[in-house]
């Protein structure tokens, strides 16, 4: 285990509920998660696994009818959940920067991008308009937007998707945050643009030395980008491992299935892909026991009655998995 002194973000037992017609349903079920200083963490999972909600909940940005039921989240030693709104506002955009999935809808359509970029500088750094503007130009240049002096006058719809996402990243980085949370930042982009954005973030991370949390559904995308990966399934952490260990030797059957179902350019093309059967459970309809049990090829009786804990995998360093069949999984590997 890493020393606590090095922890930037530490989430413990985070539980998020959604209000439905038939009462409340748990969407995130006691997640433990941490990010060390200077570390890049990948959070991977399918849609509805709660990966975005977890990150939004840290900043109390959850949509209506969704709320944190219990758990705590310490950022730099301070509990985010107990902070006053004023303190939290300082953290938002100041210490923690956000980049969202769809740059088209995440930028205000009726505001010039220069003004949108200047906002965090004005409210966190107390800059004047002129100063903020100058810095905005620098930031646009930093994220590789050509002709930044003219571009700060543009409205979002006048930029291409890739350029918009660069603007979003510039906004996230404006106050040189300690942590940048990127929520599926390339999902809405084309393949070649996606590669540009991944390279940009890699670059910036080295230049600025911040921690990054990269949320994605695409295991392949983050392989060369992150230091550690947390895999989520149906609102729980099923595996947490250093990136090389995870790809070389995935322990949880879900991670294995996920990795196996990604088609790769390097293998022999086979006509059939390996796939995981079934569908993830809907919130509120989670099965008893391990949420993955109904789809798991290794499921045993105990999996259907008891929830496995996230525990270190024998002799594998920081590699942890939540599975009763881990030993069995090792044999099968």
């Amino acid at each position: 285990m890493t020393k606590t002194g090095n922890r930037l973000l530490d989430v413990k037992g985070l539980t998020i509920e959604i209000e439905t017609r038939n009462g409340s349903a748990v969407v995130v079920d006691g997640i433990d998660l941490h990010v060390d200083k200077g570390e890049t963490l990948g959070v991977v999972g399918e849609s509805g696994c709660g990966k975005s909600l977890t990150m939004l909940s840290l900043m109390r940005l959850l949509p209506n009818k969704i709320r944190v039921a219990k758990g705590e989240a310490h950022f730099d030693g301070r509990d985010l959940q107990r902070m006053s709104n004023r303190e939290l506002r300082k953290v938002r955009g100041g210490d923690i920067g956000f980049v969202f999935q769809d740059p088209m809808t995440s930028l205000n359509p009726v505001m010039r991008i220069g003004d949108q970029l200047a906002e965090p500088l004005i409210y966190h750094r107390g800059m004047g308009r002129q100063e903020a503007r100058k810095r905005a130009v620098e930031l646009l240049r930093l994220v590789g937007i050509p002709g930044p002096e003219e571009r700060i006058q543009a409205y979002p719809h006048e930029l291409s998707g890739g350029m918009r996402q660069r603007v979003m990243i510039a906004i996230g980085l404006a106050c040189e945050p300690k942590l940048l949370i990127a929520d599926e930042p390339t999902t809405a982009l084309d393949v070649t643009i996606q590669a540009q954005i991944v390279d940009l973030v890699k670059d910036l991370r080295e230049k600025l030395g911040m921690s990054v949390v990269w949320i994605t559904h695409d295991l392949a995308l983050i392989a060369g980008l992150v230091d550690r990966v947390v895999v989520l399934y149906a609102g729980t952490v099923v595996e947490d491992a250093p990136v090389d260990a995870l790809y070389a030797n995935p322990r949880h059957p879900y991670t294995r299935g996920l990795l196996a179902s990604i088609p790769k350019l390097s293998d022999q093309p086979t006509s059939r892909l390996n796939s995981i059967g079934g569908t993830p459970p809907e919130p509120g309809r989670r099965p008893q026991g391990c949420p993955f049990a109904p789809r798991c090829p290794l499921a045993m009786d105990i999996c259907r009655t008891h929830v496995p804990k996230l525990e270190p995998v024998a002799a594998a360093g920081h590699h942890r998995a939540a599975c009763f069949a881990v030993e069995k999984a090792q044999e099968a590997a």
Partner: protein, 327 residues
């Protein structure tokens, strides 16, 4: 490949006319599809890949006459489909089907799964009312859903289940040819693999021909017989799967392949990727000459002015690039 292709597409062009400006005062033309020719053989899977706006979906829609072609021909069994009006097109619709990207919005929210699948069966008189229930149940079983799903509504299903329903609905017409328009793009990774396997099973079982439209090269490699790469409304390269993936000729194809991430951290960290600079230009004002020249790493002077010829570089491997010598 058989002597007689199932579908023969000749010089297909599709332009959309739009109005721009606050008061719609400027007329403009979207060059969605320019001079695309290709054959699709019976039983094969031809994939079209490219970035958004490259015209791959427009190709699918225009083949099926869901968009009226501006010019060019689509020959199916010797009949030019672009010349048919909706009524005369109807019998061909049974043979030529489509599966869309977003399964939710392509299902009528007020109809049950059974009604949605049953509708084309009844309309094309492929079964009597009495046989309908059994027929729907068989189709549902075919796509891996329990027959009791017939009474459910689309909003009660998950994304993968909905896509299975859409596939079952397309199968209801007993088609020969199915356009899969980004049919798996909206789905989760683990579900994507399920649907791809389902499509392959169905192809085997019913001898289907697919036009598979996608942006994910890795996926395409697993299911295609041949692959076409499109850029800004034009075909850049077309070849058999192995040819295209092992020895791509067009610089755009090379860049696309290079952009595909791999699930190997060590490899990914050290890989020298050839990342394309800039964005895809607007199809409202496509660049002159080779449309790729604004982003091409090996662009030459001639690329600016002259549209590269669509030529056979190797047997069965076609490419449109000045830097590649023909034959």
């Amino acid at each position: 490949m058989g002597a007689q292709p199932l579908l023969k597409i000749e010089n297909l062009v599709k332009h959309f006319h739009v109005r721009l400006g606050a008061f719609g005062e400027r007329a403009a033309t979207v060059h969605a599809l320019d001079d695309v020719s290709l054959d699709i053989a019976e039983g094969e899977t031809l994939s079209l890949v490219g970035e958004s706006g490259c015209g791959k979906s427009t190709t699918g829609f225009t083949i099926l006459n869901l968009h009226r072609a501006t010019s060019g021909k689509v020959l199916y069994k010797g009949q030019d489909l672009t010349a048919l009006d909706e009524k005369r097109m109807r019998p061909f619709r049974r043979d030529l089907q489509i599966v869309f990207q977003d399964p939710y919005s392509t299902l009528n929210p007020r109809m049950t799964v059974g009604e949605a699948i049953g509708e084309p069966i009844l309309f094309h008189k492929l079964a009597t009312k009495a046989e309908l229930e059994g027929k729907v149940a068989a189709l549902l079983t075919d796509v891996g859903l329990p027959p009791r799903f017939a009474s459910r509504y689309p909003h009660e299903l998950s994304g993968g289940q909905r896509q299975r329903v859409v596939i079952a609905r397309a199968l209801a017409c007993q088609p020969k040819f199915i356009v899969c328009d980004e049919a798996i793009s909206a789905l989760d990774v683990s579900i994507q693999a399920q649907i791809i396997n389902l499509l392959l099973d169905l192809q085997e079982k019913y001898g289907l021909t697919y036009l598979f439209i996608a942006h994910d090269l890795a996926v395409v490699r697993h299911i295609s017989t041949r692959v076409g790469v499109m850029y800004l409304g034009r075909l850049a390269e077309l070849g058999s799967r192995d040819e295209l993936f092992q020895s791509p000729l067009h610089p755009y194809t090379k860049a696309l392949l290079s952009a595909v991430p791999e699930t190997d951290p060590a490899l990914e960290r050290n890989r020298q990727r050839q990342v394309l600079q800039g964005d895809v230009p607007s199809p409202l004002a496509p660049p002159s000459g080779c449309r790729f020249h604004t982003r091409c790493p090996i662009a030459m002077e001639v690329c600016r002015h002259k549209v590269p010829r669509w030529k056979e570089a190797r047997p069965g491997h076609l490419v449109a690039c000045h830097a590649v010598n023909g034959e």
